[in-house]
């Protein structure tokens, strides 16, 4: 929760152009991402896999921001993980600023699709948009290769919220 507010505050205080590309959209390896998800305790991560070139991805992004806003008092963390090529890092930053994306955005710094696609989920064909729901404490990792409207996204999140911890 506080992380989200600090981030919003940071973005509000610093004018966009003073944030470097690396600060606004950090590069992250899959290991770094997985470590963060694993260390999240009861935080439910909603990891949206997207790219600037993917029209249905771009169309559904506001729903994820809306979810983050609606449940800001809950341990919920939306992460937009861009699959744009690393050489387009600057374009991703510009896009995020232009669209006013509120949730955290990362750029996946992995080239080998035979490595990262099955590691994120064996169910993933590679098509985007796709979204991964992770709650380490509850032992939940749910992968959905689909587009979401807000209601579907909220339903998925709430079903995780309502699950009891695994003993």
């Amino acid at each position: 929760m506080s992380g989200y507010f600090i981030r919003i505050l940071a973005i509000a205080l610093l004018s966009a152009d003073r944030l470097s590309a690396q600060e606004r959209v950090p590069l992250v390896t899959l290991d770094q991402l997985e470590e963060r998800l694993a260390a999240g305790g009861d935080t439910t991560f909603v990891v949206n896999l997207w790219a600037t070139w993917c029209a249905p991805c771009v169309a559904e992004m506001p729903h994820f921001d809306q979810l983050q806003r609606a449940y800001r008092s809950k341990p919920l963390q939306v992460l937009f993980v861009s699959l744009d090529a690393e050489k387009n890092h600057g374009a991703v930053v510009k896009f995020v600023e232009k669209k006013g994306i509120k949730s955290e955005v990362l750029l996946l710094n992995e080239r080998d699709e035979q490595y990262f696609i099955p590691k994120i989920s064996m169910e993933w064909s590679g098509a985007i948009p796709a979204t991964l729901f992770v709650n380490a404490e509850k032992g939940i990792r749910v992968f959905k290769e689909q587009e979401f409207n807000y209601q579907q996204l909220e339903t998925n999140y709430l079903s995780i919220l309502q699950q009891k911890n695994v003993p």
Partner: protein
Amino acid sequence: MLMTALAILFMANAPVSEEGYQIGDVVDDFRLKNVDGNPVSLADYPDAKGFIVIFTCNTCPVAKGYEDRIIALDREYKPQGYPVIAINPNDAGVDPNESYEKMQQRAQEKGFTFPYLLDPDHVVTKRFAATHTPHTFLLQKTAEGNVLQYIGAIDNDSRGGDPDTKFVEDAIAALANGKKPEPNVTKAVGCTIKWKKSA
């Protein structure tokens, strides 16, 4: 308003992956309309040793990024007996830029050297269980029929355009040497298929 909500619901609930052909399966022939107006079947190629079937489209930037590489594949491998057969799996009702006319336009602009086929109602797309564009299926012609030997990416750089491993070419080389492709399934980032909305 309700209809819109329902439409959105149906769209998002469209099938994303169904069981289709597996490696080693014999693939049924199909007959789909090409951009030149004529139907195309695998049976139209009596001399082929196999086929590079690629589900691709007009709009997906990844697929468009592969167009020149697909043309190069066809130029290189058609004379060797493995022509490219491109099929557009997307529904023009969902995206008008996927219409037959736009397919004709794209094929002409890019100078496609291979058929670019329309798949109304996703019939062939579903048989192959294609999930995204571009999505490639390599077939080998045998006495039993056209056997699926490889599923996945054309090469190992769907996003940067600078591959150092060419999966489809390696797979054809393996088949030409009497071997099985290894790997025979690969993954790549691509665009979700635009499924027709349920009526």
